[in-house]
């Protein structure tokens, strides 16, 4: 089914829902094709290939709301599905805040090509996919005789989707994604088997990084962990490597969402215009990055996207407001989800940041942990390297960082120049002072 056919199906579903009594309707039809190859310890380990479909439909019926999904797109099944779903909606309580976005918000969609679809996708062959995995695996395996196991892989996907809102929105998109990388487990000589990975995801096949880099770095990272142990509890400076730094932002993203504000479970309620982080922290939601993993011209509700500064030199400028909770709060919606996140990047590399640490910990992975969006309290496990006088001394693990997000971001002292481009959250390495670590 191509996008034109999907659009016709979506329009048909809207009409069906109206016929059965729904006032306003939103329909998404999506299809994706995924191929996955894994090569392990010198042998092809896994091949997976499939196509999947989904139709999601939301009803706004007399102030009543419900949302339904199915992967059975045959019209005779859909007709029953839709009539049953509309009938069910009538049992719910009214909710005057449930409505489709004001069509004003559909306007002004930017007319640019985000280049998130690679037309060379069709020409990637099964042999090529296997070959890439095999090559990364053999590069990785050649790195060290301490390797217990390594797996390399390649996957790609082609996704198409359309969206129709009954009050005047239609949109469509086509995207491709290509991933490749490796993971390795090594023998530390004492019964421990440290592990790490190095994967990359990109929109265009030609942008996949060098296979040598993918295989080599996975093993280097695992080897670096040999001998890891915990240290004395206390306050240390902390550098978080770029690929893990986005994890910390989860603890701010949840309290920035309109649902948390409206449900009184956000420590950021009423803080617009206030300084919530160090002046080094400027966070931008940018939907227009060419080839970006989070790039989009309209959001999940059909609203035209805009580049927005969310946090400006530490000052909270905007929340993430979806249509429904925006209505409840009496605030204009600006999209409830992130597109690409970028920061105002600094000038220092990760190595420069490490050199600045007198006594600190370079965090390479987070493990578990959570945060409380109502109060800002957080506690997260870490794995990393202990640094003294700018030099890496030894690997550390089995430690936690703890604190409160209200004060934590004020201790952001430096922002690196190295955004992690294999994620839509393009965080660079970050330097924080005096972080509470617990160990021994």
């Amino acid at each position: 089914m191509n996008n034109k056919e999907k659009l016709e199906l979506a329009r048909w579903a809207v009409e069906q829902a109206k016929f059965h009594g729904a006032e306003e309707v939103s329909v998404d039809v999506a299809q994706s094709r995924n191929v996955e190859v894994e090569y392990r310890d010198g042998q092809l380990d896994k091949l997976k290939e499939s196509t999947q479909n989904a139709l999601d439909i939301s009803f706004y019926d007399d102030n009543r709301y419900s949302s339904h999904g199915t992967n059975d797109l045959r019209k005779e099944s859909l007709e029953k599905f839709i009539s049953g779903a509309v009938a069910m909606t009538k049992y719910l309580n009214e909710d005057p805040h449930r409505k489709l976005p004001d069509p004003e918000f559909y306007k002004g969609q930017k007319d640019i090509d985000l280049k998130v679809f690679d037309s060379s996708y069709e020409s990637v062959t099964s042999e090529q996919r296997v070959q890439i995995s095999k090559e990364i695996e053999s590069i990785a395996r050649a790195q060290s005789d301490k390797i217990l196991s390594c797996t390399a892989g390649y996957s790609d996907s082609f996704s198409q989707s359309v969206k129709v809102n009954s009050n005047g929105f239609e949109g469509e998109s086509s995207r491709t994604a290509f991933s490749a990388g490796a993971e390795a487990t090594v023998d530390d000589g004492e019964g421990g088997r440290p592990y790490d990975w190095n994967w990359a995801t990109v929109r265009l096949f030609k942008d996949l990084p060098d296979l040598e880099f993918l295989g080599k770095v996975a093993v280097e990272r695992a080897l670096e962990k040999i001998g890891q142990d915990k240290m004395e509890s206390g306050k240390y400076d902390m550098v978080v490597e770029n690929r893990s730094a986005g994890r910390l932002f989860y603890s701010l993203f949840s309290p920035m969402q309109a649902s948390s504000l409206q449900q009184k479970s956000s420590f950021l309620e009423g803080r617009l215009g206030e300084k919530i982080a160090s002046g080094k922290f400027t966070l931008i939601d940018d939907p227009f990055i060419v080839n970006g993993l989070g790039s989009r011209l309209y959001d999940g509700e059909g609203m035209a996207t805009k580049k927005r500064v969310k946090i400006d030199k530490g000052v909270l400028k905007e929340y993430y407001i979806d249509n429904y909770y925006g209505n409840k709060l009496g605030m204009a919606p600006n999209s409830g989800s992130t597109s690409n996140l970028t920061l105002e990047y600094g000038t220092k590399s990760l190595d420069d940041l490490i050199k600045e640490m007198k006594k600190g910990i370079l965090v390479k992975n987070f493990i578990g942990g959570n945060s409380n969006s109502t109060t800002g309290d957080f506690s997260i496990g870490i794995v990393g390297l202990y640094v003294e006088d700018g030099r890496i001394v030894r690997p550390v693990n089995e430690m936690n960082i703890s604190g409160n997000m209200n004060e934590f971001w004020n201790r952001l002292a430096e922002v690196g120049n190295d955004p992690y481009i294999y994620s839509s959250w393009r965080f660079p390495s970050l330097y924080f002072t005096d972080v509470q670590f617990s160990g021994i």
Binding site: E49, H68, N71, L148, T185, R247, I367
Partner: protein, 513 residues
């Protein structure tokens, strides 16, 4: 987070997103799903009819799947219906439903897996998927599928009324009643959110060794989350109940307890402090503290990690790993418990599997590939999220059997430590053995008594070390009541866990210095 989110363990409402009684979708009367053996055969025929296939087609698809020389294949038909009804701001004002229908075809050649699925259950689409999965193998010698024979299953999750027959108007009163109870309980409550989820999954599995089974899998959960305010301070917490059960699971007593626990756990946080940072004695409350076992040993005992030589437990079978009063099992047969299965997702019987027996590391959790690799018995741990995934070894209900100590005696023995009671999530690095779990609430223990409440702390330890450091086990085993979902390789499956009161002599607690 990409690859990092593997093996994360989250407490959620039931995994499925959708729900709703949608009349007219079923061609057959699903109430025949529980029945005597004779009716069971009728039931199998109904499953075939439901998926629009017959034995002949299934055999032909298997033939295609094996034509490149694979040594085994299985076909997994699934139809699931999931529903959620939600209350927020005192109104039952949202409902979500999802229907998922398809077939997954897996071909195995030694340790290698080829997989494909289709959402279109026609002979043509299935054969195309089979031919795709077949490509994993490359051998001249082919095996032929064996004629299908139906196997009757035990029933570990009897329900009175199938969820398809429970209309939304029967669920709504539960939400309203719980909401009223939450607000009546304490005037400091300012917000309450409640979600009632249920799902049914109809599964038909046929394999090239001639086995066919069918299974109806119910699931439900009720989750309450509330926010309270006191002198400008706000706290949020909640409680949930989940089971492979029907609506009869939610007795008036349970409904009352849901409201009471959610409110109590929220209000308690007002007085909560942070413990000191560092290593200390930790006592785990009975119940959901079983997350310790899930992270510290359970994942490491999944046999795929061991056959790949990447688990810290890879060479420890038969060796002592804990004191002799420690016995840990993973069981798929507990009545109506969330992780139970009448049959695993590759058609093998489930059972009670001993991970640790009297302190000795006993058995890995096997799927078909690992059982053959180790020439070991199947343990019925081959599970998958849905027809979209190949099965891999997964836990079911993981718990520690009761030990020789009394809970009071354990608390009394601690001079200064932490009593951990409720949890939100955990994670483990299989090879190094580091694992964490996040304590939402608990208490300090001072001079043998529970004192101040504590909140929001991560605990981190090393699996084998923590097992060795278990110094006391009480006789009060309890199962977790909430809805736990385990994530591995991008697949989420429902699990449960349990623990008696247990004391660990030292773990690192994320606090303040």
């Amino acid at each position: 987070m990409g690859r990092m989110s593997r093996r994360q363990f989250l407490e959620t409402g039931a995994k499925g997103i959708a729900i709703a009684s949608i009349p007219g979708i079923f061609k057959f009367d699903p109430s025949a799903a529980f029945a005597t053996p004779l009716e069971d055969i009728v039931n199998l025929k109904e499953y075939y009819a439901h998926f629009g296939v017959d034995e002949k087609t299934v055999l032909e698809v298997m033939q295609t799947a094996l034509e490149q020389g694979g040594d085994y294949c299985d076909i997994y038909f699934q139809h699931s219906i999931a529903n959620t009804v939600g209350l927020e701001d005192n109104a039952v004002n949202r409902a979500y439903a999802n229907v998922d229908f398809g077939v997954g075809i897996r071909v195995v050649s030694g340790d290698q897996t080829g997989y494909s699925f289709t959402e279109e259950i026609t002979p043509k689409a299935m054969k195309l998927a089979a031919a795709t999965a077949a490509n994993i193998a490359d051998q001249a010698k082919t095996v032929a599928p064996v004629g299908l024979e139906h196997k009757t299953l035990p029933d570990y999750y009897p329900v009175k009324t199938l969820w398809e027959n429970v209309k939304i108007d029967r669920k709504i009163p539960y939400l309203q009643e719980i909401n009223d109870k939450v607000f009546a309980k304490d005037s400091r409550i300012i917000k309450s959110r409640i979600r009632f989820s249920d799902s049914s999954s109809y599964v038909l599995i046929a394999n090239s060794e001639g086995k066919t089974v069918c299974d109806y899998r119910p699931m439900t959960s009720l989750r309450v989350s509330c926010t309270a305010e006191q002198n400008g301070q706000r706290e949020t917490n909640g409680y949930s109940l989940a089971a492979r059960h029907g609506i009869e699971f939610f007795t008036p007593e349970k409904v009352q307890r849901l409201a009471d626990e959610a409110v109590k756990r929220t209000i308690d946080l007002f007085e909560a402090v942070k413990p000191e940072a560092g290593e200390m004695e930790v006592v785990l409350a009975p119940g959901s503290s079983g997350i310790l076992l899930h992270e510290a040993i359970g994942h490491g005992m999944e046999a795929d990690f061991n056959r790949k030589n990447i688990s810290i437990f890879a060479d420890k079978i038969g060796k002592p790993v804990a004191p002799e009063f420690v016995t840990i099992v993973d069981n798929g047969t507990n009545l109506n418990i969330r992780g139970s299965l009448n049959i695993d997702d590759e058609g093998n019987d489930t059972e009670e599997t001993y991970l640790v027996r009297d302190g000795i590391l006993a058995t890995y959790l096997h799927d078909r590939i690992s059982a053959r690799h180790y020439k070991a018995r199947h343990t019925g741990n081959g599970r998958r999220e849905s027809f979209r995934y190949a099965p891999i070894p997964r836990m079911r209900n993981t718990y520690m059997l009761p030990g020789p100590h009394a809970p009071e005696e354990i608390i009394k023995s601690v001079k200064k430590g932490l009593y951990a009671e409720t949890f939100t999530n955990g994670q483990v690095f299989i090879g190094a053995g580091d694992f964490t779990f996040y304590v939402k609430s608990g208490n300090l223990i001072e001079d043998g008594k529970l004192t101040k409440s504590v909140k929001d702390i991560n605990i981190i330890g090393n699996g084998p070390e923590v097992l060795a450091n278990i110094v006391m086990v009480a006789d009060d085993l309890k199962f977790a009541e909430g809805g736990w979902t385990c994530g591995k390789d991008g697949q989420g499956v429902p699990v449960s866990q349990g623990l008696p009161t247990v004391k660990v002599s030292s773990i690192t607690v994320g606090g303040v210095s």
